[in-house]
């Protein structure tokens, strides 16, 4: 399972466990259970959307973002007018139709053209295929970079390591079983102490 979704589902599962414990203490009063369960379901639904998006490859960096957000302003005005309609009269809700229509009209025009690319030396086809990535120049922070051909892992693009100077970068941490990972996470402070006592990587760096 995608690790990002796993974080969301794990968090929802811990809350679900706490809800089950609440049942023991508050079985005769369903209202808190309904409230808490609803919150857990919301997070679960969010986790499901994350999982589906990850499986459909919606993890690429978003360079083709919209360049204007005028529609957002109109949407905000419409929402405020609808709310004010509750306070000062329903006619304001009718006025809210105008900014709503404006937002609807503008929303498509704000999208970036398909030909738009993050760097003029990269073609849209290269970007879509994920076959190119610029090289960072470590000696000058923020200096212009050179696009280099580099294959990317189709299944797990987010864990792909880049190489800077020809040497392969350290691999991501190996997968371990859940129990072991949890135990390691809990014991990390202790392992950090050991590392510090040994004067290793965790010790002072400058």
């Amino acid at each position: 399972m995608n690790r990002a979704a796993l974080v969301v589902f794990g968090w929802a599962a811990f809350n679900a466990l706490l809800t089950v414990v609440l049942v023991i203490y508050s079985a005769r009063d369903p209202f808190p259970l309904i409230v808490y369960s609803s919150g857990v379901v919301l997070v679960g639904v969010f986790g499901t959307i994350v999982l589906l998006a990850a499986r459909r490859g919606r993890t690429e960096l978003a360079y083709r973002t919209a360049t204007r957000s005028t529609s957002a302003a109109f949407l905000g005005i419409a929402a405020a007018l609808i709310g004010l309609g509750f306070v000062y009269g329903w006619f304001l809700m009718l006025i809210a139709l105008y900014p709503l229509v404006m937002a609807g009209v503008l929303v498509r025009g704000e999208r970036v053209d398909r030909r738009t690319v993050p760097d003029e030396r990269i073609t849209p086809a290269q970007l879509r295929s994920g076959q190119i990535w610029p090289q960072w120049v470590p000696t000058e922070l923020g200096a212009p970079a050179q696009p280099i051909e580099q294959p990317r892992d189709a299944e797990q693009p987010s864990t792909q390591e880049r190489s800077v100077d020809g040497e392969p970068a350290p691999a991501p941490p190996a997968r371990a079983r859940l129990g072991m990972r949890t135990a390691l996470a809990v014991l990390e402070p202790l392992t950090g102490i050991t590392r510090r006592l040994r004067g290793g990587r965790g010790a002072r760096s400058r």
Binding site: W11, Y63, A79, V164
Partner: protein, 547 residues
Amino acid sequence: MTAVSSGRSTPEALLTESAVPRRWLTTTDHKRIALLTGATALVVFLAMGVLALLMRYQLSRPDNRFLSDQVYDEIFTIHGSGMIYLAITPFALALGLYLVPLQVGAPNVAAPRTTMTGYWLYLFGAIAMLSGFSVSTGAASDGWTEYTPLSDSRFSPGAGQDLWILGVFLSTLGMILIGGTVLWTALLKRAPGMTMLRLPVFTWSVIATNLMVIGAFPALLVALGLVVVGRMAPSIFLDNLWNIGYQNLFWFYGHPVVYVMFFPFVGAVAEVLATFAGRRFFGYRGTALALLAFAALSMSVWGHHMFVTGQSADDYYSLTSIALLIPAGVEYFGMLGTILGGRLVFRAPMLFALAFIPQFLVGGLTGIMVATPVLDYQEYGSYFVVAHFHYTLLAGSVFGLFAGIYFWFPKMTGRVLDERLGRWHFWLMVIGTNVTFLPMFWLGMHGMPRRIAGYLPEDGFGTLNLVSSLGSFVLALSMLVFVYNLVFTLRRPATAPADPWRGFTLEWATSSPPPALNFEHIALPPITSYAPLLDLRERQAATEGAG
């Protein structure tokens, strides 16, 4: 940047081609949306501080008639509401909005127009709530909780109350949109190489924060819907089921929001401590796990605000509240472990981060006290509770907020805030905060109720209230120093380097302020851990040593 000769244009070119005001108000750049949100929140924060001064002046001596009871009620309501809904929560989320895309190596936030819609909703919500002062019946006056039946149309008539509901609804909806898009960015829009276990501590804190936003904030929207129905048909609140129902819904939001207001600042403090101790954060995995566990537990403790109703499961909520000590302890262990092994550099961000540690501890531990039924029955509704949550939110969160501001201000503006003024700000704020809020613990234990516009000389609250009020004016002075520093610094040329503090995370690998798509020509340094720039320096040092 110009369009390319091939006819293809870059988003960066499109993002920077319109006039300045329009460029900001129709922006899709996460940094600008975050700066708009943060600046609005800062203005609201200062305005709410002025309201606090009015309250403190009123309470500085017994039987003071400076404010009428009704105006005092309106002021404490808008002060609390403004600080929570319109100042600290938006600022916390704005900090995440600015930094998370940079820290995960993304060029922008996911769905920037949705994020900008969130800002507009927040802005209109703030205007709606504060415009309550301009209506003939006055602003809302039932406290930031707006308990029913007090807030229904029988007991709180007038448009001010309605505008409060509208303001909170819009701003909360806006925060959900902002929180959702930032969470989406952190989970799915990471740069290649940025695995989940290479996310910086700050980003983990924002993930935990936004999980709470997704899970808990909608409950407030439902609660507000219930109040709206109740204002149309107040008879529903004759049945106590709905009053308790409202409290359950409200506190299901109301407790996690406290964590939303400090988690990003815990993350900010962690980054500041690591950078100014010159070493990577101690106990990274434990802290990331603790942040998630802390956030999950925070969803389960809301009933401890309802002990005195007699209709909450005391044992459960007390148990889960005390369990919060475990993840909190792990986080503190990480922060202290980072300091203990490092070479500390005492710049202004570090001073604020160091003060956060003991002050927030006071707020946290007194929180565990009032989450224990026997103590809560004694202290509920007293100044002890006021002291507790101000230690959490001001002595804790706001110190973390300023640590973050001083730390990331060069990145955001290209200018380093003046260090000498920063130190003045820090020391005045430490003195002001503790002189203001420490006496409130004693006031509460001696029986002074919260939300009262005055007291009699024979009550014996005069001296401690006077001390507290004097402290609040020192606090106000510290804020004036900060505002002067802000204005003074912004008038200077932007000469800050990309990495003035020798930071560890990706945002320091780009210019100050960053370009439209965050990293010049989208190039990133190799991401080898949660402190990639420190790795890079260590590798360079090793290479030079070997050479």
